[in-house]
Symmetry: C2
Subunit: 146 residues, 2 copies
DNA sequence: AGCAGTGTAACTACAGTTGTTACAACCCGG
DNA sequence: CCGGGTTGTAACAACTGTAGTTACACTGCT
């Protein structure tokens, strides 16, 4: 199973917030949806999760959404955690209730758990060391080249 | 979204094959299913994938399944690849068709792709450096302690 | 030939994702 | 203080992938 695209959409939205195109025009969920090419409600749902995680602040009425921190201080791991339903340490699902009468069944879970945890942590560490700023800088750089 | 439990079931099954309990009794899909606590067809499906990947050999009739290699030469990454539907480099799903008229939309995919690829590779490297033998050794060790 | 086991298709039930409609709550400008 | 644009959410549909189950043809040993 693939990891939900909510994560990439969230990064997309945060990039928009970090790169204010026109100062005058407010960045509403509808405009963001137009950029991501989806429905405004999908954006608002994700904004709700980002808000709960304290990454953005939303003005309920006349469309205003802002980052609460500098892009350099927002890691992709925070976004991942804010948006994923995957609970900490649950990326891999392990079949529950193996037969305790079996030697393998009795110990497979703890034997696997250590390795799976390390694998998951390795993935998260890469995200932890990438900031939103790196992403937006990359976007800006690519925009200049093309 | 969590990664399918097919992976952990596959490791479970391979562990059974690597630790032959009683030499006489053949290890049928039904016995394996009893150990994992699931349906024999689920086991056979997974065995089919492992067979296609060349990790096991199955005698169609009178129930005999064997590893084609030493447990020390089978990495968890091979099992993961054999069993996951996740295509190489597709662990994260990215929202397709972002708006090309938008600066962010035009470049977000390639800007994210590099990081996501590194994250995924980091996870896979941990699996690549763990062998089936390490798992079974761990199981045997835990069995002795308890 | 008989039989225990595998290979596979077909179906169900279920969970999570994504998109969509609908509407209440909210805030701001006039 | 009212109207209009916006957010917050609930509810629902369509879809996808997972896991379990039944059924049955096929296989190969004895
Ligand atoms: S319970 Fe998983 S092999 Fe025994
Ligand atoms: S922000 Fe994703 S397309 Fe512009």
């Amino acid at each position: 199973m693939q990891i939900s695209s909510r994560f990439s959409v969230a990064v997309h939205v945060l990039s928009l917030l970090a790169l204010p195109e026109q100062e005058g025009v407010p960045l509403t969920s509808e405009r963001m949806a137009g950029s991501v090419n989806t429905n405004p409600v999908v954006i608002r749902r994700i904004l709700g999760q980002l808000k709960k995680a304290g990454l953005v602040e939303v003005r309920p009425a006349s469309g205003g959404t802002f980052l609460t921190r500098q892009p350099a201080n927002i890691t992709l791991l925070e976004v991942y955690r804010a948006v994923e339903v995957v609970e900490e340490g649950q990326l891999f699902s392990v079949h529950d209730k193996p037969n305790p009468a079996c030697l393998v069944g009795r110990h497979i879970q703890s034997a696997l758990d250590d390795t799976l945890q390390r694998a998951q942590t390795a993935l998260e560490q890469v995200l932890a060391h990438t900031t939103l700023q790196q992403v937006t800088t990359d976007i800006a750089a690519k925009a200049l080249i093309s």
